[in-house]
Symmetry: D2
Subunit: 210 residues, 4 copies
């Protein structure tokens, strides 16, 4: 029982054997009410959480909590997608947490698409929703509202490879409908010291000077 629970925790992101065991002892020592709450949440997490059919982020389905379910149709789009349905900018991010992090800064008010993974040159199988992205663009582009797609992936080789991959795939649709494709600005990030910067960051900080 203990070993099986350790195995479950070993699949958690960033958790090794020692911490997995600590988690099990944490649960063994926990109050019954805490365990019950935990079980209840695990049982209901997926039931009450939906994946948005437009942006693919997870969101909590508020309609289920309304008294009269017959009146409110079950929503399949998240509040951000509903609110920004007429936005002219679409931003592509890798993960839900990236989306959350952008939302937190309140610096973007367009609409999102959560890719769900990166594309790799080595591993052809990827969890990236490339087909869904293309479908989304094909549906949104002809409405004339969409003016720009920002590919907002992390600044590492795998992110850069995926950015190029996506650019190539969506270029024809973008060209046909006059949609601009952009990527996040590169340069000095908060805290970067010139003395410790790599050549590529310095080159881009110079090129993107304002």
């Amino acid at each position: 029982m203990i070993d099986r629970l350790v195995s479950v925790f070993l699949k958690f992101p960033g958790i090794g054997l020692r911490q997995a065991r600590r988690f099990v002892y944490h649960l063994l020592l926990a109050e019954p009410r805490y365990i019950e709450e935990f079980i209840f949440l695990l049982q209901n997490l997926k039931k009450e959480t939906k994946q948005c059919t437009r942006c693919f982020r997870f969101f909590e389905d508020q309609s289920r909590q309304s008294r009269d379910e017959s009146e409110k149709p079950e929503k399949n789009e998240c509040s951000l997608c509903v609110k920004n349905v007429n936005s002219s900018i679409l931003i592509i991010v890798e993960k839900d947490i990236d989306l959350e992090n952008i939302q937190k800064g309140n610096a973007f008010h367009g609409t999102y698409f959560v890719l769900g993974g990166l594309v790799s040159s080595l591993n052809k199988e990827s969890s990236a929703r490339i087909a869904s992205l293309v479908a989304r663009l094909k549906k949104d582009a002809p409405t004339k509202k969409l003016e720009e797609v920002i590919i907002a992936l992390s600044a590492h080789p795998n992110g850069d490879y995926t950015t190029t991959y996506i650019k190539n795939i969506i270029a024809p649709i973008a060209k046909k409908h006059g949609i601009k494709i952009s990527t996040l600005g590169r340069g000095m990030s908060t805290g970067t010291e010139l003395e410790y910067s790599d050549s590529e960051t310095i080159r881009q900080a110079l090129e993107n000077r304002r």
Copy 2:
């Protein structure tokens, strides 16, 4: 739902807000079978795990899996306690994980007592099972089998304070029955370099030279 699950994970040892959120997304993306296994284990963990009435460590109750429960009486003592019931040495450790770590090295073959916490000079309320320890000793001491109690706590101020606290409390019983009270040897631990050692470690390494 998501926020409530984040709150549950925030109580896990060493887990902050960012990692708690990552755990929730890990579960949202997980296979139903994985979630079901997780729920099953949480539901049964406490049922099939007992706390040993002698050493207070958690152990899995094998008897529950036997077909004929009427024959096997429900065991309330762990296999280590049953096996080492006649041991002349008792070792006091703080946590189940400390016990596991000692077992792993196969360097101790006596019997254990898991204290469950440390005593602090500031906080009088402690999860340390001092009363149970005293009861255990009062029961074991008169049998003449027990010859030594090793207090095996971590080498930090809180551990040292608890060691002194326990020593004072068990001294009368130990004296009465001729039981030796000892503590873990101090000195150089694996990898310690003399150049970077503190004065206390050097002093004890010199004192405990062999």
Copy 3:
């Protein structure tokens, strides 16, 4: 003698007491030839190194090694300043090492000014050569060659404060002579992951998207 040498090393950047002592033992165990070379270099470092009168960086005076010193006038400007005398871009950096790091990447081909320190809102005394910077601009600006000044300081509060301070001081000269004032681009730097980025970096990466 040993303690005095330890004191000298304690003034080295980033060196504490332990490492200072290790340096002294390193010298005590060193070959005489190594110590002699060290002394020779210390004696001649300043003699054969000049501070450029234009950019204030340190450079080695090659003319001293020429046979006939009467013919070659003693150079007071470094090779970078001589080579880029007609450059239309001037970059302001904090330290010699920042200049070296930019040179290493080969991404900038204009002329430099080494500020020698930052300005702080708390400490009014600063080693920043503000007056020399203004003098340099007053001399260069009327030649019509200078088109842009890049303030290239580190992306931390002290660097940002100094950037604003310099901007305000050089604005009148820049305006009069039609010189553009720019700063390094901000955004994602190499290796930055969106998940771990602060709001300010995300905001700037979005604003400076390309």
Copy 4:
């Protein structure tokens, strides 16, 4: 000149290219008086520092500062060796800094021998003064004052190998003169937590319990 000085600093213990360059700029920006002091100390360090003929540690020769050198014979033994000439315990350490660290704690009042390096199973050439150690013991042992030799090396494989190597070499002298050979105590060092201890440390902490 700059590059040659960088090369000198690259031989300092623990110093890489970037820090070596920072050291050079530190010197370029330093006051002339600081450089002069530095040069003076380098010129006189070896003249005024002696290596003790008994323990091989470096010490400052105070006699040179006395007015009448004819009266005081030049001392070739350090103050610790002079003071503890009749000590019954000799401790063998690897480096001067190890000796300093032991002295700092004031826990040892015997006499020292600085080995000057470790012996390695791979590299037969070593800076360890094995022959001098043997000579020292042959000279001290017959006086009947020496009762114990403590081999006090770091608790890593190379230190352990050297300990065994020295034990084998000095065993015959020790046996002949009834001298005990000991090593530093092993066990928990300050701050060690049982949960994170390796099996070897736990084994020794149990074995050396008090």
